[in-house]
Amino acid sequence: MSIPVQGPPSGRRQGLDLVPVTAEKGTKKEYTSDQEVRWCPGCGDYAILAAVQSFLPELGLKRENIVCISGIGCAARFPYYLNTYGMHSIHGRAPAIATGLATSRPDLSVWVMGGDGDFMSIGGNHLIHALRRNVNLKLLMFNNRIYGLTKGQYSPTSEVGKVTKSTPAGSVDTPFNPVSLALGAEATFVARTIDSDRKHLTSVLRAATEHRGAAFVEILQNCNIFNDGAFDLLKNPETRDTAVVRLEHGAPVRFGNDGEKGVRMTERGALEVVDVAEVGEDALLVHDVKHEEPALAFMLSRLGNVDDGVTPIGVFRAVDRPAYDDQVREQLEDAVRTAGPGDLAALLASGDTWTTN
């Protein structure tokens, strides 16, 4: 086959532009590989896998043009189970590997899957650089707040005081807030969702694919072996409505059993949780994923600190900025446009030359 390295003439692109589509959407079954899934029974990864396997066919892309790249960890086993192209690489480096692939192949939809250790511990640097560059990648971080594969050490997203094999007296370091970190790293698309909420998860994936550039999605994932119940508050029907804040673009930020709670900005530039009945809906913060500045999204990402246990999910930010790989390709096209395609003989003979005979 010949490799389509150049896309169509440049110009600002959308979502999955350049990735070939197919008339016949595939099925979940077609997107399921023949490899036995080897996660622990009950692991949250199963739900994510099922959601992705169902969602991908929806996109109507040619299956062979989808690539899933991962590092190492339980989550990072993901590619084996998707019947697309895939690479299970080394710990933490998947965003870098994917950057090379996405930059050289505009016709591929490139996904990066991994755990919180993979993305935020050893791979933290590659992640933040992929985000600031805005490489056209969908980065899904399965955050179980633990190292699963290595059998239960604390991770950079584990809460303070966590007792694990490596921290028998409790961990002392403040975890990253993945959404805050991504926003601080100039991410153009940042979202959070939950393994068990198939509908929400799928809607976030949809938004991520519509975004051109780096889309970072934190998926809260239960590791029932080493950190069971980490997100029970957000899942338990008794508590979830008051714990989960579902962000919707253009809508006031409300939650609670009947949307009776809301979020408002104080004069001091902080957020507070208020009683909607008391303050009125107009007083509430209206969520704006398109806000050119990430500061408000950042503020929302801290809501859990302001009101303990409250966790906003949904898309925090989704703004347009040219993707790294698109621009790199444009520079190549420009060079050819202005100076013609490369001429090897001319290159070799460039500079001062002389002839002997």
């Binding site: 390295v5 690539v67 950057t99 050289s104 192949r105 650089h129 002389w354």
Partner: protein, 620 residues
């Protein structure tokens, strides 16, 4: 006017000055003129370490040496015949190398008490007899230049700066070089500042005329053109040649070139060079670190590009894990290591050959990687193409071991005809290659070619070949994860056999043994080629018998290496390390090879190598 003209068959000149004195440029221009004239040349720039040290200090000295001759030249030369010293620091740092009786041209303007003190000269060496073994030409280069430029509307600083052109003019006169290329160059360089162009040309001419007129110089020298194979030539450094080789490999294979790299001395110039060639579809990615650089290159290789990463020692260390991944993924990948003096930060601008065993063994597990090493600056071109050939043919990462000396050194290069370059045909997998139990077709990513043992390269985007690869051990054939003990043993040996098998596909070891009766073989690799060749020439000129063989392929070694070694009573292996190739040769062939090592960050001197050869000949 009509000065005496003496014939010389070879001359070595070193320009030395402060970092700000433009010595590299001066050297480059003199090289161009000399090439144009038709001499054979070899050059060696010697940059100051990393940052620009304060003016006038020893760490700030920048030098450029070139060796030109009426015959083929193998090294930039041991001891210069002429030293141009633009200030006391340059004198102090370089004068010890000057051949006794050699010409020493000093810029007296800079020999102020303050500058002398800066470098620890208690007395002005121009005024005592410490330089009496040289032909000293004390010339106020700066003030002569400034005077020559009176009337030009340029700053005093710019006028002073032009002193390097004065010096160049003088040297050009002394060796009777053609001046057109330099004059044209100055016009080009200062195209936007015509007054500067004119003043630099004037300075250059003033230097020429100074030689012509003054009594300071009583002789001029003539070095006849060398007889070289006919064709179009250009001067080229190793890093440029390497970059061109990569572009050529891309053109000849039809695969796009992707460079993932993180800047590091002395490799950065390859990144800079390749960044210019967007018209060839070359993508350069300046990564956040070395790991991301190689990672991205590997990702691009998965997508069908020629993935390349360029670096030096510290970067190779960091890339080790990813190289191991590439070994087991069996994807093509090129790692160019422009070796510098280590360990650790070491001496970043200096050359060494101390990464050979790192390239061989620097990864956990059994992870064999082919290794190629160029022997001269222009040879970096061919070596790069050969490295890409092996990578894409065998689906394996390949190491290319250049070094700081090759990288920055230059020599004339007979520009090859594009059609004469190797074709690099690559066949991607397009069809399933295996049948399931039920007879339906499937794709096995680890089903090997029976000759090369290479696995198929199936690109994302190819329908029906969807597959997953990874770093966990894979079942032979299907590529599925396997923890089966004997499968692992099989796979470890298969990967080794694949790399070993490349020996079938590389030329035999060429031996230069003019009379075929030498007892001693000098075996080398990499940038020592020139010095070893020159040393052999010295020994042979005295009637000594010595054979020379030089390894381009370090892993695997040419199939006949053992045979060749067994034909000689003694084998001498000179290396700029503590004996790395020697260990491999001894371990593999049980030959009692003698290791001769110098680890000084600089190429061997051919004289010291000649001594070493003589010693071995005598002892054998």
């Amino acid at each position: 006017m009509a000065k005496e003209v003496q014939q010389r068959d070879r001359v070595i000149i070193r320009f030395a000055g402060d970092s700000g004195d433009g010595m590299q440029l001066t050297g480059d221009r003199f090289t161009s003129e000399t090439a144009e004239f038709g001499n054979d040349i070899s050059t060696l720039p010697d940059f100051p370490a990393e940052i620009r040290a304060p003016a006038g200090t020893l760490p700030g000295v920048s030098a450029f040496q070139l060796h030109f001759a009426d015959h083929d030249v193998m090294t930039p030369g041991d001891a210069p015949d002429v030293l141009v010293a633009m200030n006391p620091a340059a004198l102090k740092a370089n004068v010890a190398d000057l051949r006794v009786g050699g010409d020493l041209i000093v810029n007296t303007d800079e020999f102020t008490p303050r500058n002398l003190a800066k470098v620890g000269y208690a007395a002005n060496p121009l005024e005592d007899d410490s330089l009496s073994s040289y032909q000293v030409h004390s010339i106020p280069l700066t003030s002569l230049t400034v005077k020559a430029l009176e009337g030009y509307s340029i700053t005093r600083k710019d006028a002073e700066r032009a002193k390097n052109m004065f010096a160049l003019g003088l040297l050009s006169w002394l060796y009777n070089r053609p001046t057109e290329t330099t004059l044209a160059f100055l016009e080009r360089k200062f195209a936007k500042a015509p007054e500067l162009a004119r003043s630099n040309v004037t300075a250059f001419n003033a230097g020429w005329n100074f030689g012509e007129t003054t009594e300071a110089f009583t002789v001029r020298y003539e070095v006849k053109p060398a007889v070289m194979p006919p064709g179009l030539y250009r001067n080229i450094t190793g890093n440029t040649a390497l970059s061109y080789g990569l572009v050529a490999a891309s053109v000849r294979s039809g695969l796009p070139l992707f460079l993932g790299s993180y800047p590091i001395t002395p490799a950065s110039d390859i990144l800079h060079e390749l960044a210019k060639h967007k018209r060839f579809g070359v993508r350069t990615f300046q990564a956040e670190d070395e790991i991301a650089g190689i990672g991205a290159a590997l990702g691009a290789a998965f997508g069908g590009a020629i993935g390349v990463t360029t670096t030096s020692g510290p970067g190779v260390d960091l890339k080790s894990e990813a190289i191991g991944l590439a070994v087991t993924l069996e994807l093509p990948l090129l790692i160019c290591d422009i070796q510098r003096a280590g360990p650790s930060t070491g001496m970043p601008t200096k050359a060494e050959q101390s990464d050979l065993l790192l390239a061989m063994f620097g990864r956990h597990g059994e992870a064999p990687v082919p290794i190629i090493a160029p022997r001269s600056p222009s040879d970096c071109f061919d070596a790069a193409i050969e490295a890409v050939r092996i990578a894409v043919t065998y689906r394996t990462p390949v190491f290319l071991l250049s070094d700081a000396y090759l990288a920055n050194g230059s020599e004339p290069w007979l520009v090859p005809d594009v059609d004469s370059l190797p074709e690099l045909p690559v066949v991607f997998a397009t069809e399933p290659n295996h049948a399931k139990a039920d007879g339906s077709p499937e794709f096995w990513p680890y089903l090997r070619d029976s000759t090369t043992l290479a696995r198929p390269w199936a690109l994302p985007g190819t329908p029906g070949l969807e597959h997953r690869i990874g770093g966990i051990e894979k079942a032979d054939g299907s590529g599925n994860i396997s923890y089966d003990p004997s499968n692992h043993d099989t796979m470890v040996r298969l990967r080794q056999a694949k790399v070993d098998g490349i020996a079938r596909d590389i030329p035999p070891l060429e031996v230069d043994d003019p009379d075929g009766d030498a007892d001693v073989l000098v075996l080398g690799w990499g940038s020592t080629y020139g010095p070893i060749g020159a040393a052999c020439r010295i020994v042979r000129d005295e009637g000594g018998k010595v054979a020379q063989a030089h390894l381009r392929h370090l892993n695997p070694l040419p199939a006949d290496t053992g045979d060749v070694l067994s034909r000689y009573r003694r084998v001498l292996i000179p290396e700029m390390n503590l004996g790395q190739l020697a260990l491999l040769i001894r371990g593999k062939f049980l030959v009692d090879a003698i290791s001769f090592t110098r680890v000084r960050g600089m190429p061997f001197k051919s004289d010291e190598l000649a001594d070493a050869i003589r010693d071995v000949i005598e002892a054998s």
